[in-house]
Amino acid sequence: MNSDQRPPILTVEDVSKAFGGLKAVNHANLEVAEGSITGLIGPNGAGKTTLFNIISGFIKPDSGHIAFQGERIDGIPPHRVFHRGLVRTFQIPREFGGMTVLENLMLVPKDQEGEHLWAAWFLPWRVSRQEDENFTKAEEVLRFLNLHQLRDEYALNLSGGQKKLLELGRTLMCNPKMILLDEPAAGVNRTLMRGIVNDIKRLRQDLGITFFVIEHDMDIVALLCDRLIVMSEGSKLAEGTPEEVRADERVLEAYLGGQVR
């Protein structure tokens, strides 16, 4: 299917998840090519966010397999999915409201020695050195996202859009291989978002990060994504370049009333 591109970094194979009688994800099959920016679109209730929750380990699928870089990740807990290099953001921002914006970011990096009690007690110089590194990195990310003036503010006090940016910032703190973005543009200023679109492209270019993005704003999708996957009623409906998908009649139908049949 993606024969013209690099091999898939993420493979979702026949994954299903039902909540009671509602089949949120229904035998979904899809692949995300390594180094791509793949968009995941579809009408409300198509199962996009549920699929993200399954991939990132927050929900166990009823059936099916998920492989990341050739290794199965279905059924393993979220923090271990994170450690494989697959990180996510949330559709509704989940900031740490009682912490400053700076420490929201400094929480994230992996392998912090100070997260072990004995290091916090007995190896303060090593903890300090890492704190210094993480601080520098967090400052960079904050400048990158135009949030630096809010560094010492409680994350609780940020606006909706700023919280979305903070979500994005958290994913940049841990050198991920792949980032799942759940509606990164919702509530974010358009001019700023265009800037971020370019930055995402640059991250892909420079660091080779793969992006898998749920987004409703078709302008952003067209600017950002080189491939689109369309979901409807829990499974994949169509796939292709943004132009191909736009021309696909099934997609139009799904958006404009296919569900009301």
């Binding site: 923090h79 929480l107 997260e115 007690w121 300090s128 601080f135 010492d152």
Partner: protein, 396 residues
């Protein structure tokens, strides 16, 4: 009027509620010696320095012991958001562990502890009470026992949602209480244990031991405070704070939620065990009747809420304020107020304490000393350093 109008330089940036909080602390500090004098007049009609001081030192020791327990709860609830309505279980286990290890052979009707082998544990009688090491070992054992109990409790319960965890921990506390009271072969049942030796008691005259008692409990409070501050104002504490804000986001940031919650629960419980140990030393006697849900669990919640959840200094301040108010209200007893009021005085005291707690929380919802803005001590120092050096010219 100090609350309005022009303020001196040191008072700028202070909120009105800061003055009220200071006033509360000052009032209690000034009132307690007076209460101690008045209360000791029962035993010494003309008033007496020794009587006053023994009341006052007992107050300070109690505050110290309760501060330890509140700091333990602060790690669990204040930092991590893990509900523990079973403080009693860890408190009691710590106290009894210390008592069994240190005290001499059983006296009276019952001749065995823990089915017999508890008798062999007496570390102290073989050694004089002027040695410190056996007491440290007994306190460490109390911390270990409480920590182990917490570990046992953590596995089935920490996966539960908050409300279920609350019920489960109440159950654990009640089981502990019932076992101690009903299983008399273990720790003497409802008769309790007496004769816990006083640490370093051999070094001073018995009538002066009360001062040494204050010093010992004070030192333990200080050690525990600094150890906890160091643990908590670090990336470890940052993960705990993250958990109390949003568990799922913490998991999505690659942290093992269950592991950190368990660590926090165990560390908090171990501190409670140390608190229990200090209680056993300070009062030399344990009675299971003293370990009620109100006075061995919920009073620490009140102390933490009033003092400031998520701040170790707040936990200490809360223990001081709540126990101070409770002690002051003691003065209301003993006046001739007529049977109707007099016989109900204990309940009226409780009621007034409740009103005081609500009052403090209305004025200062986050407690007398709210949690610090920055978790990591390193970040705190870094930001302060930046503020003190002039900002570089803005780049454009």
């Amino acid at each position: 009027m100090i609350l309005a109008g022009k303020r001196p330089a040191w008072a700028r940036g202070l909120k009105p509620s800061d003055f009220i909080a200071t006033a509360v602390l000052l009032t209690i500090t000034l009132a307690i010696p007076f209460i101690a004098y008045e209360q000791s007049r029962g035993a010494f009609p003309d008033g007496n320095i020794a009587g006053t001081m023994s009341f006052y030192t007992a107050f300070l020791v109690t505050v110290g012991v309760f501060a330890l327990l509140t700091m333990g709860l602060n790690i669990q609830w204040g930092y991590t958001g893990v509900i523990n309505f079973g403080v009693l279980a860890f408190f009691m286990l710590g106290a009894y562990t210390t008592a069994i290890i240190t005290k001499g052979d059983p006296q009276g009707d019952f001749t065995t502890y823990i089915g017999g082998w508890g008798n062999d544990l007496n570390l102290i009688p073989a050694l004089a009470t002027d040695q410190w090491l056996p007491f440290v070992i007994a306190t460490a054992a109390a911390a270990l026992a409480a920590g182990l109990l917490a570990l046992l409790v953590a596995f089935p319960t920490l996966h539960l949602r908050e409300d279920y965890l609350a019920i489960a921990t109440i159950g654990i506390a009640e089981v502990m209480r019932r076992v101690v009271i009903e299983e008399r072969w273990m720790v003497n049942g409802s008769r309790g244990l007496t004769g816990v030796p006083q640490p370093l008691g051999g070094l001073v005259d018995q009538s002066d031991y009360k001062y040494l008692n204050v010093v010992i409990v004070g030192i333990v409070v200080i050690i525990v405070f600094f150890a906890l501050e160091r643990a908590v104002r670090s990336p470890w504490g940052r993960v705990l704070r993250g958990l109390s804000d949003d568990e799922e986001a913490t998991a999505a940031s690659g942290k093992n939620v269950f592991a950190f919650k368990t660590q926090s629960f165990v560390v908090g419980a171990a501190i409670m065990g140390i608190g229990g140990s200090m209680y056993a030393y300070a009062f030399s006697a344990l009675s299971p009747d003293a370990f009620t849900h109100l006075f061995a669990t919920f009073i620490f919640w009140a102390m933490l809420m009033v003092g400031g959840s998520g701040n170790n200094k707040g936990a200490i301040a809360g223990a001081y304020v709540i126990w101070g108010l409770w002690t002051i209200s003691l003065q209301m007893q003993g006046y001739e107020l007529g049977d109707v009021i007099e016989s109900r005085m204990p309940f009226i005291r409780g009621l007034l304490l409740g009103v005081a707690i609500v009052g403090v929380l209305l004025i200062r919802p986050l407690g007398l000393l709210p949690q610090e803005r920055r978790v990591s001590a390193w970040v705190e120092r870094r930001v302060k350093k930046e503020r003190s050096t002039p900002a570089p010219p803005a780049e454009t």
